[in-house]
């Protein structure tokens, strides 16, 4: 894992990718910093960080689009997958390298609040908390990007898909309120949600008996809920879409609260997408 991490980090700065990421991020954040805080004489730094979130839409694809697509394009995945390393080592090494480039960039932006502090009083715990949330959110987006670069065929499609995925997590809060909230719609949605892991279970094991057994158990649970706790289905679509709303959980950080469930949420979200990446790498070997 360490070997991959070091090589990836080096490659980011040997090629232009790392530098472009750094430049775009600092340019955009610098412009916003000047126009929103410095010129108007404003010291609301956490507001500035919240406003800066949209930058992820453009810079995360830049960071992650090549991670696996280039390996496939140049055939170097054959070296990685035939070496004595497990898949988690490969995926984590790459993820952490992208995260490191991101952290280096974030570290540079720390100059901004320091500059501000010369001219006014800042609420440091709140700023640190916001940074913490900012980084966790970035890590989750990077994990999505890593997964998408593994499943897409080319660099461009990886970048576009990652961009779309990040946009969706931003607008999902907004879309949520237009989803049907009836019990029946909730049931249909639950069936769809259950069908996805079941189909994964079947394709990965090709075992009808196990798949059918799991399907039966889940169907029983669904039926039980339908008859004894029907209210759970109300607004289920909206609720489950809310699980994907990454930016909403940032709110608690920006008011200076380090909420454990938000931290766990981001970490498990990143972990889940890295798990999907490992599964996808494993699946490529079989299909």
């Amino acid at each position: 894992m360490l070997a991959i991490f070091k090589k990836e980090l080096k490659t980011y700065f040997l090629t232009l990718t790392g530098w472009i990421f750094l430049a775009v991020f600092l340019l955009v954040s610098g412009i916003l910093f000047s126009t929103q805080l410095v010129f108007p004489g404003n010291s609301q730094y956490t507001m500035f960080l919240t406003g800066l979130l949209f930058i992820y839409v453009f810079v995360i694809p830049l960071l992650t689009m090549r991670i696996f697509t280039d390996e496939k394009r140049f055939g170097t995945d054959q070296l990685l997958l035939t070496g004595p390393s497990n898949l988690w080592g490969i995926v984590l090494g790459k993820f952490l390298a992208a995260l490191a480039v991101f952290l280096i960039t974030i570290a540079v932006t720390f100059i901004y609040p320091v500059l501000l502090s010369f001219h006014g009083k800042l609420d440091w715990p709140m700023i640190i908390g916001s940074y913490f949330g900012f980084i966790l959110l970035g890590a989750a987006f990077i994990a999505i990007g890593v997964f998408i670069s593994q499943v897409s065929e080319g660099v461009v499609s990886a970048a576009v898909l990652t961009l779309c995925a990040i946009v969706i997590t931003f607008i999902i809060d907004f879309m949520q309120q237009y989803m049907p909230t009836t019990e029946l719609s909730g049931l249909v949605w639950a069936v769809i949600l259950i069908a996805i892991p079941l189909s994964w279970l079947y394709t990965s094991g090709k075992n009808w008996a196990v798949t059918a057994a799991v399907a039966l158990v889940l169907a029983a649970v669904l039926l039980f809920t339908w008859f004894f706790g029907r209210s759970l289905f109300i607004g289920l679509i909206g609720k489950s879409m809310g699980w994907l709303s990454l930016s909403r959980r940032f709110g608690s950080f920006s008011i200076g609260i380090l909420s454990l469930d938000a931290i766990l949420y981001y970490l498990s979200f990143s972990g889940f997408f890295l798990f999907l990446t490992v599964q996808s790498l494993e699946k490529r070997r079989w299909s």
């Binding site: 490659t11 055939g75 070296l79």
Partner: protein, 317 residues
């Protein structure tokens, strides 16, 4: 060293490898020979754990590649058909990465890399970016990568493809040297290529092994079938006259004659009925008809013909 049992692999509905068995002993140099798309690379990708077999098992030195991939992969050095090179790194940076990635102990890294650089002769390009290297050097860096960690088993997929004749000879000699201490499996679609280096040849066609033998026995089998009994001729004279003259040979098996490459010349391919030597008969027949023989020689067997020959042999047997 390698034992493959009932190995199959399909991609969707296409069966790339069909139920093959082979056993490769320690210290052997084995050649996989077959036309493009025969299943050589697929088989090698399965041995190295890049692809999982659809059915069957492979073990390396007794370790199953699917059950304990990390232990088995430590024993293998693999050079795929396209060398897996990171073009943005220099040769040294790349080999250092591979050494670390393959978990070579720190104490052995420096000396190991020096030996490899000497062996594949890349010492003079070590500071250069891989993307600026020529095809021949890239191939050597790819080979160097496979040698990192001194694995007992080397899998080389078409190691000489795209090289010039001088480089091909160098790589061949290198493979023969490596064969003294390693088990080597290499693949090619060129027969002489494999004849020159291997102890044993596995011929693969359409996903099956159609022959497994030493190069000497194999070429013996092939020339025994066709050697002196099949001749290609260039004759001065009209094709009709040539045909008429040659048809008088009693031992004639088959004959085809046609216009030659220049005016006034004809070409003919002739085989004997009983697979015997027909050359003297041909000379006498044409001399009697006053048709000078300009060239006569055994017909070169193209790889396709060898396959045709072997596959039909197998079906008859």
């Amino acid at each position: 060293m390698i034992r493959a049992v009932n190995l199959s692999r399909h991609f969707g509905r296409i069966e790339a490898v069909k139920n093959i068995d082979f056993h490769i002993r320690k210290g052997e140099i084995i050649g996989f020979l077959g036309p493009n798309g025969a299943g050589k690379s697929t088989t090698m990708n399965m041995i190295t754990g890049y692809l999982a077999p659809s059915a069957g098992r492979i073990s390396i030195d007794g370790i199953d590649i699917v059950d304990s991939p990390e232990d088995a992969k430590k024993l293998i050095g693999y050079m795929p058909e396209h060398p897996p090179l990171y073009l943005d790194l220099t040769v040294d940076e790349y080999l250092n990465f591979v050494t670390e990635f393959k978990k070579v102990p720190k104490s052995r890294r420096k000396a190991g890399l020096e030996t490899i650089r000497d062996l594949v002769k890349i010492d003079d390009v070590r500071k250069r970016l891989i993307k600026n290297l020529s095809k021949g050097y890239r191939q050597r860096v790819g080979l160097a990568q496979a040698l990192v960690g001194n694995p007992p088993l080397l899998i080389l997929d078409e190691p000489t493809v795209g090289l010039d004749p001088k480089q091909i000879i160098e790589i061949r000699e290198l493979i023969r040297d490596l064969g003294k201490e390693h088990t080597v499996v290499l693949s090619s679609h060129i027969l002489p290529e494999i004849q020159a280096t291997c102890h044993r040849i596995l011929i693969i066609d359409k996903g099956r092994i159609v022959a497994s033998d030493s190069p000497e026995n194999l070429s013996g089998r092939l020339s025994g079938a066709f050697g002196a009994a099949r001749q290609k001729l260039l004759i001065k004279g009209d094709a009709y006259a040539v045909r008429a003259a040659l048809e008088k040979i009693p031992a004639l098996g088959s004959l085809s004659a046609g216009k030659g490459p220049e005016d006034g010349l004809s070409e003919a391919v002739i085989t004997a009925a009983d697979e015997g030597d027909i050359r003297e008969d041909v000379f006498r027949a044409l001399a009697a008809a006053d048709l000078p023989i300009l060239q006569m020689g055994p017909m070169d067997l193209s790889l396709e013909e060898i396959f045709l020959n072997l596959t039909t042999d197998e079906e008859e047997a």
